[in-house]
């Protein structure tokens, strides 16, 4: 680590099911250190094969989407991706 101020890097993984070791289907990266700039459509290959790999690489899990019971009559209505996991790393910004 350098001597700059600490900044947050955020990794969002969308997995195949509710298990953290299931495969990555979609992803996003936001880098508060400004060392990298990510944008929509900038990558075809996920940064990790599954969520567990991110933990092994030092990312800290800070939020996971809850499992929500299905409302009567809405069981088959599909909307947003279901298995969203937020990770962070704290890095120096230099």
């Amino acid at each position: 680590m350098g001597s700059g101020e600490t900044r947050q890097q955020v990794l969002v993984l969308y997995l195949a099911n509710s298990s953290l070791d299931s495969s990555v289907k979609a992803w996003a990266i936001y880098d508060g250190t400004a060392k990298t700039r990510h944008m929509p459509g900038d990558s075809e290959k996920p940064p990790y094969t599954n969520g567990l790999e991110a933990l092994l690489d030092g990312w800290r899990l800070i939020q996971a989407s809850p499992l929500i019971n299905h409302s009567k009559g809405e069981e088959f209505r599909m909307g947003y991706l279901k298995y969203e996991f937020f990770f962070e790393k704290l890095e120096h910004s230099d």
Binding site: A16, K25, P40, G41, M78
Partner: protein, 318 residues
């Protein structure tokens, strides 16, 4: 007038499952050139003169000065675009007209149209350009039996460096709120349009998409036309290839013969890379329900996904 070339059943089944139909290099070069000329964009040289840079920076207001007509929403398409005009000729290309007729009917109406322009580093210099967030057009659209189409017309070659429209096949049946999906930077199976001049994509209104960054010095143009149906969208295409086998069940799980990949059931139950384990199966059910509407047969099923959920034997009335 030349007869429209309708889509086939398999093409419409592909549309039901993936949310788009692609017609590469379908528009004749003469129409492509006339279109670029009509919007004042026929001169697309890599010209770094100040005059050209000023012109490129004003491309956003291009439609107002162009020969493209402003059309009241809800105008019948073929009244809005008369024959002999460039847009009239574009929508009357037999395969284009046929695809429109197959999906939203011959008497569809124009919702809106627009020329999208993406200029490159010549215009933006060192200012960093960010690709457009993923979104679904319009707003939450809960319709179940009707849908709009959006025609994406690319009048010139689009290379990977030009940042052609990015879209995620198969997202069209998800009910979301416009840019609420913007958080998803990348999804497995996303596609970036690269195509030869004159290519046309017909997209279901619900497909998730966004424009890319143009990294070349040639401005990129895309004409988008949204159309609404005026009739139930049932068997509007050429159904001569709709086979009896396509409406009957086949063995599932334990099978002795490989499935025909071109069978309707195969097309409707083909997983896409971004599918989650459990909701991928619900995608099949959504496609089946969509196909039922399209063929006007509420008993249709593919690989029993819907039938077993509907199997609730009742006691006979005494």
């Amino acid at each position: 007038m030349t007869e429209p070339i309708l889509l086939s059943t398999k093409q419409v089944a592909f549309f039901a499952a993936n949310g788009f139909v692609e017609l590469p290099a379908e528009v004749p070069a003469t129409i492509n050139e006339r279109f670029l000329d009509a919007i004042g964009a026929s001169d697309r040289r890599e010209d770094v003169s100040q005059e050209n840079l000023d012109r490129l920076s004003r491309l956003g207001g291009l439609m107002a000065k162009s020969d493209i007509p402003a059309v009241p929403a809800g105008t019948p398409l073929f009244s809005a675009f008369k024959e002999t005009t460039v847009l009239g000729d574009l929508v009357r290309v037999p395969s284009i007209r046929g695809a429109i007729q197959s999906l939203v009917g011959a008497n569809c109406v124009l919702d809106h149209h627009f020329v999208h322009v993406a200029s490159g580093p010549l215009v933006y210099g060192n200012r960093q350009q960010i690709s457009q967030h993923l979104h679904q057009d319009s707003t939450i659209d809960p319709r179940e039996s009707a849908f709009d189409i959006q025609m994406f017309y690319f009048p010139h070659d689009v290379t990977s460096e030009m940042g052609g429209t990015r879209f995620v096949p198969g997202t069209h049946l998800r009910v979301v709120s416009e840019s609420a999906v913007a958080r998803y930077q990348n999804m497995l199976g996303q596609r970036h349009i690269e195509c030869p001049a004159g290519s046309v994509f017909f997209m279901h209104h619900g497909i998730w998409h966004g424009g890319g960054v143009n990294r070349t010095n040639l401005s990129r143009f895309m004409y988008k036309l949204r159309l609404n149906p005026t009739v139930p969208q049932v068997r509007l295409w050429d159904t001569s290839d709709l086979n009896r086998e396509d409406t009957s069940q086949r063995p599932i799980f334990f099978v002795k013969e490989r499935y025909d990949p071109e069978a309707i059931a195969s097309i409707l139950t083909r997983a896409l890379p971004w599918f989650e384990n459990d909701t991928g199966r619900i995608e099949y059910i959504q496609r089946i329900r969509f196909w039922r509407k399209l063929i006007g047969d509420e008993t249709f099923d593919a690989d029993y996904w819907a039938t077993r959920l509907e199997c609730e034997p009742k006691l006979l009335d005494s």
